[in-house]
Symmetry: C2
C-alpha cells in the first residue's frame, strides 16, 4: 500500500472537516450544558456511516473510507492523539491532593470502585448473556473487562463538572477529585491486567506473570523514583535550555517512550502515557506555561480528532441495543451509587454528600469510551456492546451535573455578560458629558426592550445624581431599578475618548455599562456590579491598543481576558 498525492489531499481535507465539525459540536454541546466530548463523538457519528455515509455514501467513502491508506493515516493520528490525551489526563491529576485529603478519599475511591467491580464481575461470570458476553472460555476476560468498564470514573469529566458548578475548590469537591484520581489509577491498572490477559490469549511473546510483575513494577517505578527524578530534572532543563519549548519536548519524549514500553508489554500505549503524565505533572517545577501549552494544543487538535474519529467507522443506529444499554445504565449506576455511598459514610460524610459523591463518580466520560475502544480493537467486545458503553458513558456524564446541583443546592455565580443586550451597544468618539451619554444609551436600551426611554433615562440620571457611578479602571456603571422588569438588562457604551463619571481614581471612563434590574431584585444588581468590577480589576483593558468597535469585538475582548 502506498500513499498517493490524492490520499494526502483527502486525508488533510478529512482532518480539517473532522476538526471543524467536532469543535463546533463540542461548543454547541457546552452551550446546552452538555459535556464537550459528547459533541466531538457526535461529529464523528454525523460524518461517519450513521448519517453522512447513509445519505451520501460516496462522500463518506472519499473522506473517511473504512479501509486503505486514508483509514490508516487517520488511525495513526488517533493513536498519537490518545497518547497525548492520556498524557494530559495524567498531568492534570494532582497526586498530592490524594495525600492531602486523608482517609475519606481512600474509603470513597475503593468502595466506589470495588463494589460495582466485584458485583459486575460475579454477575457477568454467572450470567454472561445479560451483559452480551460470549459465555465461552474467553468469558473471564470479558467479565473482567465489563466490570472494569462499568466501575471506572472519568476524572477529566468530573473535574470539569465541578468547575462548571463552581464547586472545585470546596472541601467536598477536593475529596471527589482526589478519589477520582485514585479510581483512575486503579482502574487503568485493572484494565492493563485485562489487556495483559488478552495478549496472553493471543500472540504474546511475554508470559502473563511477567506482564503483571512488570506492570506493577513500572507503575511503582513511575510514581516513586521517576517522579522524584523529574522533580530534580525539570528545573535543570528549565535553567539551561530554552523555555518552555524544551520542557514540552522533554515531556512529550518521556510520554512516547513510556507509551512504547507499555505497548510492548501488551497493556497498550495509553497506560504508559498516563503514568508519564502523573510523574511529570506532579512536581511544581512543571510550570504553568508548559502545562497549558500542551493542554490547549491537545484540546484543540488531538482530542477532537480522537473522539471525532470514534464515530467514523461504526454505525451508531444499527448497532444500538436498547436492552443492553439499559442493563449497563441501571446496573452500572445503581452499584456505583451504592459503592460511593458506603465509602462516603465510612469517611463520615453526610447522607446528602454521599449521594452527591455517587452521582459525581457515576460520570464515566472519556475514560470508559477509551477503554471500550481498545476492547473493540482487541475483539473483546462487539460493536453493539461498544455503542451501549459509549451511550452509557455519555448519559451518565450528562446526569451528573444537574443532579449534583439539585442535591447540594448549588447556586451558580452571576456573570454580567449573561445579561448583555447585543442590540444595545454604542461606540462613540463624541466629546459628550455623562448625562448625554446616559440619554443615548437609555434610548437604545428602551427601544430594543419595549421600555419607555423617558422612565429609564430619568431613573438612571436620578441615581447618578445621588452619587456618581464611576469605578476604578476606566469603568462606569450607571444603573437603575425598573418596575416590572423580568430579568436584568445591560447595555454597553465604549467611549475611547473617555467620559468623566467622577471615578475615585480620577480617571475618565471608557467602558460604560448601563444596568437595569427589577425593582424587586436587589441582590442581582449587586452581583452584576461586583462581577463587572472584578472583571476589570483582573485585566487591564484600558491599555488595549484597539477598543472594541462592535458588540462581537467587545464580547471577544471580555471573554479572552487578555491580548
Amino acid at each position: 500500500m502506498t500513499i498517493s498525492s490524492i490520499d494526502i489531499v483527502f486525508f488533510m481535507l478529512g482532518i480539517a472537516i473532522l476538526l471543524f465539525v467536532a469543535k463546533l459540536f463540542a461548543e454547541i454541546a457546552k452551550k446546552l450544558g452538555i459535556v464537550a466530548v459528547f459533541g466531538e463523538i457526535l461529529a464523528g457519528i454525523v460524518l461517519g456511516p450513521t448519517v453522512l455515509g447513509f445519505f451520501f455514501p460516496f462522500i463518506n467513502d472519499v473522506l473517511f473510507p473504512s479501509e486503505g491508506a486514508r483509514k490508516m493515516l487517520l488511525d495513526i493520528i488517533a493513536n498519537i492523539s490518545i497518547v497525548l490525551f492520556l498524557l494530559v489526563a495524567g498531568i492534570e491529576a494532582d497526586l498530592n491532593s490524594v495525600k492531602r485529603q486523608g482517609k475519606v478519599v481512600f474509603t470513597v475511591a475503593i468502595s466506589s470502585l470495588v463494589v460495582p467491580f466485584v458485583v459486575i464481575f460475579f454477575l457477568a461470570t454467572i450470567m454472561p448473556e445479560v451483559f452480551g458476553g460470549p459465555g465461552d472460555l474467553k468469558n473471564t476476560i470479558f467479565a473482567l473487562f465489563i466490570a472494569t468498564a462499568l466501575s471506572i470514573s472519568a476524572l477529566p469529566v468530573i473535574a470539569k463538572i465541578l468547575m462548571d458548578l463552581n464547586y472545585y475548590r470546596s472541601d467536598l469537591g477536593a475529596v471527589i477529585i482526589a478519589a477520582a484520581i485514585l479510581i483512575d489509577i486503579i482502574g487503568w491498572l485493572l484494565f492493563a491486567f485485562t489487556l495483559g490477559l488478552i495478549g496472553k490469549n493471543e500472540s504474546s511473546y511475554i508470559p502473563l506473570y511477567y506482564v503483571i510483575a512488570l506492570t506493577l513494577l513500572f507503575a511503582f517505578f513511575m510514581l516513586t523514583f521517576f517522579r522524584k527524578l523529574m522533580h530534580k530534572t525539570l528545573p535543570y532543563i528549565q535553567a539551561h535550555f530554552t523555555w518552555p519549548d524544551s520542557m514540552i519536548t522533554f515531556a512529550l519524549s518521556i510520554a512516547f517512550i513510556s507509551a512504547a514500553f507499555t505497548q510492548w508489554l501488551g497493556i497498550h500505549a495509553l497506560f504508559g502515557a498516563f503514568m508519564a503524565g502523573l510523574a511529570i505533572g506532579d512536581t511544581y517545577h512543571f510550570k504553568e506555561k508548559a502545562r497549558t501549552t500542551i493542554e490547549q494544543f491537545v484540546n484543540a487538535f488531538f482530542s477532537p480528532l480522537f473522539f471525532g474519529s470514534i464515530g467514523l467507522y461504526i454505525n451508531f443506529i444499527t448497532n444500538f441495543n436498547t436492552i443492553l444499554f439499559l442493563t449497563y445504565f441501571l446496573i452500572g449506576t445503581i452499584l456505583k451509587l451504592i459503592g460511593s455511598f458506603i465509602g462516603s459514610k465510612m469517611g463520615k460524610l453526610s447522607n446528602k454528600e454521599g449521594i452527591a459523591v455517587g452521582f459525581a463518580m457515576n460520570a464515566r466520560g472519556a475514560m470508559e469510551i477509551i477503554i471500550a475502544l481498545v476492547a473493540l480493537r482487541y475483539n473483546v467486545i462487539n460493536e453493539e456492546i461498544f455503542v451501549a458503553l459509549v451511550t452509557f458513558a455519555i448519559v451518565s456524564s450528562l446526569l451528573s451535573a444537574p443532579i449534583m446541583k439539585k442535591i447540594l443546592s448549588i447556586k451558580m455565580p452571576t456573570k454580567f455578560y449573561d445579561f448583555l443586550d447585543s442590540n444595545a451597544f454604542i461606540y462613540t468618539l463624541e466629546n459628550i458629558d455623562k448625562f448625554t451619554l446616559i440619554e443615548k444609551i437609555s434610548e437604545i436600551i428602551a427601544k430594543h426592550n419595549n421600555l419607555d426611554s423617558e422612565i429609564v433615562k430619568s431613573a438612571v440620571i436620578a441615581r447618578e445624581e445621588v452619587m456618581p457611578t464611576g469605578l476604578e479602571h476606566g469603568v462606569a456603571i450607571p444603573h437603575a431599578r425598573i418596575e416590572g422588569l423580568k430579568k436584568p438588562i445591560i447595555a454597553v457604551a465604549i467611549c475611547p475618548r473617555g467620559i468623566n463619571f467622577q471615578a475615585p481614581d480620577g480617571n475618565p471612563s471608557f467602558f460604560v455599562f448601563l444596568i437595569l434590574t427589577s425593582s424587586k431584585d436587589n441582590l442581582k444588581q449587586l452581583e452584576i456590579i461586583a462581577d463587572i468590577s472584578k472583571t476589570f480589576r483582573k485585566t487591564d483593558y484600558i491599555s488595549e491598543k484597539n477598543f472594541p468597535v462592535n458588540y462581537t469585538e467587545f464580547l471577544a475582548l471580555i471573554k479572552s481576558g487578555s491580548k
Copy 2:
C-alpha cells in the same frame, strides 16, 4: 500493509528518541550560537544511515527503517509537521509591516530575489552540468527549481538572527524583516509554479495554465477577501466559543483545508498552509494566547520531528559533493549580496547597510531545506544536490549573524546571569543582618575564585556603608570593585526570611546579589545592576510560593520569568 502492535511500539520509541535528540542538539547548537534547525537536522543525520546506520545498522533498521509501515508512519508525521510549520511561518510574517516600511522594502526584496534568480536560471539553462542538472528535456524545470532554491531567503532564521542581535526593532531590522516576508511570498509562488510544471510533466489531471491561474487566484483570494473575512470572523469565534481552544482549532482547520486545496492543485500542501497562516495571522484578532500555543507546540513537537526526519533516510557523507556545495555557496552568496546591495542603494540605504542587508538575506535556513526536500521527493534533484543545498542553507545561515554583528558594530546587551558563579550560591533561613550575610557570601565567592576573602568582604562592606544597596522588589546588590579581576563575578544568596538592606520601598531583601567587577571597568557594573533591577521589576518573584533552594532552581526561575 498492516500496522502491527510492534510497529506502534517502535514508531513511538522512534518518535521519542528523535524528539529528544533533535531538541538536545538544537539546544547545543543555540549555546554555540548556531541556528537551532542545524541541531535538529544533525540529530537526524546521527540517527540515520550516516552515523547510527553505519555503525549499528540493526538498531537503525528497527527504529527508522527506510521502507515498510514504520517508514510510512514517520512520513505522515513529517507531512503534518510541514503543514503546521508553514502555518506558523505564515502567522509570524506580518504583512502590515511590508506596507509600513514603504518603497525600500520593495526594491530590496525584488532586487535581492530577482538578480540571483535570473542569473542562476540563465546559467543553469546554458550550462546545467555546473549545477548538477540533468541537461535533458526536464532541464527547464531543474533550472527553475535551482534558481528558486538559491535565491530564496528564510524569514524565520532572519527574524531569529535579528532578535539574537537585539536588532529586531531597529529601523534597518524592520526593513530586513519586511523584505524577507516579501521574498518569502514571491519565493513560494515561484516554487509553486515549478511544482505545477512538474505535475504537468508527471501525472496531472489539471492543465498547466489552469494551475497557474488557480494558484494566482488562490494567493490573491487568501491575501484579500479571505484575510478580511478572518478579520471579521475571529472576534466572533472569540466572543462566542471557548477561548483559546476554539480559535486554535479553527486556525488548524483552515490550514488543513487550504493545504488540501494546494496539494490537489499539484503545488504541494505547504503553499496552502503558508497562505492560511498569512491570512489568519495578519489580524490583531488572532491574539497572543492562541498564537503562542500553536507556535510553542509546533516548535516543541512538529518542528524537531520534521527537521529531524530529513537526515534519517539520506547518507550525508557519501552524498556530499564538495565541488557542488562550493558552486552553490559561491554563486548563491555572491549574487544574493549583489542583488541585495543594488536594492538597498535604490532604497537609499548606506553602503554598510547594503552589505548587512545582503548577509541577512543570504540566510537560507529552513525554507531552502523544505523546498529541496520537496524537489527530492518529486525527483527533480538527486541526493547529492539535496545534501549540497542543505549544507549551503546551514552554512549561509551560520555566517549571517557574526558578519552582520561585525559590519553594523552591534554590541550585545549585558545579562547578569552570564556572570553568575554556580558555586557561589547560598540559601539561608538564618536570621542574620546584612553584614553577616555579606561576610558569608564573600567567603564563598573568594574561595571559588582564588580571591582574598578579607579584601572582598571589606570592599563590599565599605561600599555598603557609603549607601545601602537594597533595591525595590526584594532585591539587594552589595558590590565592589576588585583590582585585577578579569571578568565580573556574581554570587547569589536567597534569604526567604528577608534581610534588611534599607530598600527604598521599605521591604526586606530576599534575593541578594554580590557583584564583583574589575576596578578598571565601571560600565559593566552599571549594566549588570540595570539588568538585575529590570529582571526583578518585570516579574514578581517575591510572591513565588517556593523560593529556589539551589543554583539550578534559581536559574530555572529567572529563565522562565514566570510560574
